[in-house]
């Protein structure tokens, strides 16, 4: 029974304290609060630069009201980025591979954007449910379809993050097991597999960063529609 491939995704406990707590709190240690010096230390400078870049990218398409969401989006982006990248270290636990956590992040935030839109401009929000140029007999069916697609998109938001990270971690584990098993019998093939492993690791780093960005981008697009 190949239980051990999926063991990396079970949340380990130590004396009843789950490791997920530590994994969620640890990124806070890596981002020191910048002090009010003119020239900071190198870590703070790099992080401030990154933060400004992210905020600028996210806030450009939003109007003035949307800028109130800046802190929420930026902190979400930084948290997801850090958690995903830390999960690539050996023996660490990635909280975003758990579907429960991703859904807990995706659903409330999307619901907040939807409710904001319904509250501020209800007719415009409801009008999004119907694309332009629909033939009249099709309108009821299309409204149902659009509502379903709206809900499914949010489900997909959470599931996408989970699936990408889980698949990546699993692939890394499989290929590394294969390359270790091949070393005594076929060393040349093992070297080829290790090259594949190297490329896969680079891909995983990129995927980790991209997934975080995609998550936040889709939320901000929702906000753009609704605010």
């Amino acid at each position: 029974m190949n239980l051990s491939f999926f063991d990396q995704f079970s949340s380990p406990n130590l004396f009843g304290i789950p490791l997920i707590l530590l994994s969620l709190l640890f990124p806070a240690l890596l981002f020191p609060s910048p002090n009010n010096r003119w020239i900071n230390n190198r870590l703070s400078t790099i992080q401030t630069w990154l933060l400004h870049l992210i905020t600028k990218q996210l806030m450009v398409p939003l109007n003035k009201n949307g800028h109130k969401w800046a802190m929420m989006f930026t902190s979400l982006m930084i948290m997801l980025l850090t958690i995903n990248l830390l999960g690539l270290l050996p023996y660490t636990f990635t909280p975003t591979t758990q579907l429960s956590m991703n859904m807990a992040l995706a659903f409330p935030l999307w619901l907040a954007t939807l409710l904001t839109g319904l509250r501020n401009q209800p007719s415009a929000s409801l009008a999004h449910l119907l694309p332009e140029g629909t033939p009249t007999p099709l309108i009821p069916a299309l409204i149902l379809i659009e509502t379903t697609s709206l809900l499914i998109r949010r489900l997909a938001l959470g599931v996408r993050l989970t699936a990408n990270l889980t698949a990546g971690h699993l692939l890394i584990q499989l290929i590394s097991t294969a390359s270790i098993a091949l070393v005594p019998t076929l060393p040349a093939v093992s070297i080829l597999t290790m090259i594949i492993l190297l490329l896969l690791t680079i891909l995983e780093v990129a995927v980790a960063m991209v997934q975080a960005y995609v998550f936040v981008l889709l939320l901000s697009l929702d906000l753009q529609e609704n605010i």
């Binding site: 051990s4 130590l14 020191p32 870590l43 830390l86 660490t92 636990f93 097991t177």
Partner: protein, 148 residues
């Protein structure tokens, strides 16, 4: 009466020469041993300080620090249980200790002019080690398994 300008750094100034109000030692600098008598101690890594005038020798007083406030490396082995019992284990005390530890690490390795990769690499390596310890009970089954 105006204090005479110090001819050597203020922390070498003996208590008796510093006037009626000797300076309070800051929290970070406790007078544990005299600089003068420590200069010839073995294992001293710094260069020997220049020989001081006779008036300053052996006039330094080392005021006793209460056991509660002594640093761990200065506590003698026999005093260790007493020291442990006197420490502050309230949530505020533990929070303060964690904050102090964090500040010490931060100011030594990260908040410097030319910090490098080492500061953050040590933190990440420690995180990997802690994660290994935390999931050891899962991992020990993989050691003798034939098919993973």
């Amino acid at each position: 009466m105006a204090a005479p300008p110090p001819r050597f750094p203020p922390d070498l100034l003996p208590v008796s020469l510093s006037g009626p109000f000797p300076p309070r030692p800051a929290a970070a600098t406790r007078w544990r041993r005299c600089r003068v008598s420590a200069a010839g101690r073995q294992g001293d890594r710094g260069p020997r300080p220049a020989p001081l005038p006779l008036t300053a020798l052996c006039l330094c007083l080392c005021p006793a620090v209460p056991l509660k406030d002594m640093k761990l490396l200065d506590v003698k082995l026999g005093q260790l249980p007493t020291w442990l019992a006197m420490r502050d284990f309230t949530p505020g005390g533990i929070g303060g200790a964690l904050r102090r530890g964090y500040e010490r690490y931060y100011n030594k390795y990260i908040n410097v002019r030319k910090g490098g990769l080492g500061g953050i690499s040590m933190v990440l390596a420690g995180y990997v080690v802690i994660s290994y310890m935390w999931s050891y009970s899962h991992l020990k089954h993989d050691r003798r398994r034939k098919y993973h």
